[in-house]
């Protein structure tokens, strides 16, 4: 599959005086697995927010191209930061179901319930679906965020440091899960991370933001040597 689903041309973003990046040009193809890397503050999260249309660029354009037969490009996005209350009441299942989509009906239809059940199963949350989300572990919570994003049935899945707070085993487990789902459902993936081992293993190509510019190459080739002179 080489149909582009996202085209970025001459993209620039500044906050006031501060330029985060400028002249970014790249495309994302359907089913492609990408890593988005760069040092803290390089502008990874900023770029992601632009891609999904949460903020608007200072200059340049982003074209989202729907897959054949679809009305629009569907993007699933797991943000880097959440602000859940320490005593938020909702169970894992109810939390995931928040993203079930629009309807005049406040309650879930039979079909919608099935979809939630299916996504919970897929993300291995069935066992703890009735536990309050605030009583889950960091890894379980990330899976719940993933499940919530998957409920939108995305063509492109964007994970912003979804594995940042996990131990080594949990990271690999999570990424294996993501990889299976993304491959099975032929989604494109943008995986934002600082973990070059993970990006080499689970993505094909990297996008590196460095000194306000974009570099790209094969994920396998990202290592300390190839990034010489680049701040990561």
């Amino acid at each position: 599959m080489t149909d582009p689903i996202l085209k970025v041309t001459d993209l620039a973003m500044s906050f006031g005086e501060k330029t985060v990046f400028k002249n970014l040009n790249f495309t994302i193809d359907a089913g492609e697995k990408l890593a988005l890397i760069g040092h803290n503050g390089a502008g990874k999260s900023t770029l992601v927010k632009l891609l999904i249309g949460l903020t608007h660029p200072t200059a340049g354009t982003i074209t989202r191209i729907p897959l054949p037969g679809h009305e629009r490009l569907r993007i699933g996005y797991v943000p880097q930061f959440r602000n859940l209350d320490a005593d938020a009441p909702l169970s894992v299942a109810s939390f995931v179901a928040l993203n079930v989509g629009l309807s005049w009906r406040p309650w879930l239809s039979h079909q919608e319930k099935e979809r939630v059940t299916q996504v919970l199963e897929q993300t291995q949350l069935t066992q703890i679906k009735d536990r309050p989300i605030t009583l889950t572990s960091g890894g379980e919570r990330q899976r719940a965020y993933l499940a919530q994003a998957l409920l939108a049935d995305p063509d492109l899945l964007i994970l912003d440091e979804a594995t940042a707070s996990m131990d080594v085993d949990a990271k690999v487990q999570m990424m294996a899960l993501v990889d299976t789902i993304v491959t099975q459902q032929k989604m494109a993936l943008v995986f934002v991370s600082h973990d070059l081992e993970l990006t080499a293993r689970y993505t094909d190509r990297y996008l590196l933001i460095s000194n306000q510019q974009l570099l790209t190459g094969s994920s396998k080739e990202v290592n300390a040597d190839s990034l010489k002179g680049v701040r990561l």
Binding site: I52, Y77, R82, S94, L98, N99, Y145
Partner: protein
């Protein structure tokens, strides 16, 4: 007790207020807007007094004040208003100006206590109708925006990430809150409205884990308090607001105990 017309009016009015506050309260608590519900009831008091001063209906005065301040608050952003420590000082000013308006309007002080604490016995037929209609408008609007409202209230970051127009939803919700506060306060007093907006939903939060449970528990707790309170008030001739507050607080304590035992 239903032999008396005023008791029948009180029953219908408080039932609708309990329903509306029970439902709205779930979102007030989830969005952490208790402080705002409190502030709006004080602003509402000033509005009613201003209405009396101008010689217009206190309900119009209340709606005017609470809606205007809701819009002002949403243009400043709720987060900023909440962070501002001067906010309680500002809302005290409203109580103060309310008292001034009443003094200038030559209203008796019982009028002030009626607005603040309600006068269950004094509810007219037309007052009941007004309340029922406005309650239904609020509930119907909630129905229509239910899905984005629940997403935004329980996971605002996730909601924004998935294309919910948080700002629009937030503004609509503040308007609904202002309406509920005004309508409720008009009949049962701003104190009671504040109690019913926060305690039943907090009880639900301690016990429920799904939207359905939260809404059912909250409405049930509100109705239970209002009905039992009305009956006790009828028996003893003590203020109904006192009983309702007492019942809700006791239920809240019990709910916290249950929650504590469950979570070990």
């Amino acid at each position: 007790m239903f032999a008396f017309t005023f008791m029948r009016h009180a029953f219908v009015a408080s039932t609708f207020i309990a329903l509306t506050c029970g439902v709205i309260g779930v979102f007030v608590v989830a969005r952490q807007l208790s402080f705002l519900a409190h502030m709006l009831s004080e602003i509402g008091f000033a509005g009613a007094a201003f209405g009396a001063f101008l010689g217009i209906s206190p309900l119009i005065g209340m709606l005017l004040f609470t809606l205007a301040s809701s819009l002002l608050i949403s243009s400043l952003s709720v987060e900023r208003v909440q962070r501002e420590s001067t906010i309680s000082a500002v809302s005290s000013l409203f109580i103060g100006s309310g008292i001034l308006f009443l003094a200038l309007a030559n209203q008796s002080s019982s009028y002030a206590t009626d607005i603040l604490f309600g006068s269950i016995v004094g509810i007219s037929q037309s007052g009941v109708w007004q309340l029922v209609v406005l309650s239904l408008v609020v509930l119907l609007t909630i129905w229509l925006i239910f899905r984005p409202l629940q997403f935004d209230s329980f996971d605002s970051v996730g909601a924004k990430a998935n294309g919910v127009h948080s700002r629009v939803i937030g503004i609509i919700f503040l308007i609904l809150l202002a309406m509920s506060v005004s309508v409720g306060a008009q009949i049962v007093g701003s104190m009671l409205v504040f109690i019913l907006l926060t305690l039943p939903a907090s009880i639900a939060k301690a016990l429920g884990h799904s939207m359905k449970q939260l809404l059912l528990i909250s409405v049930a707790a509100a109705l239970f308090g209002v009905w039992l309170g009305l009956w006790l008030g009828y028996l003893t001739n003590w203020p109904v607001t006192f009983f309702i507050a007492l019942i809700e607080v006791i239920c809240y304590m019990l709910a916290l105990l249950v929650q504590k035992r469950r979570n070990g």
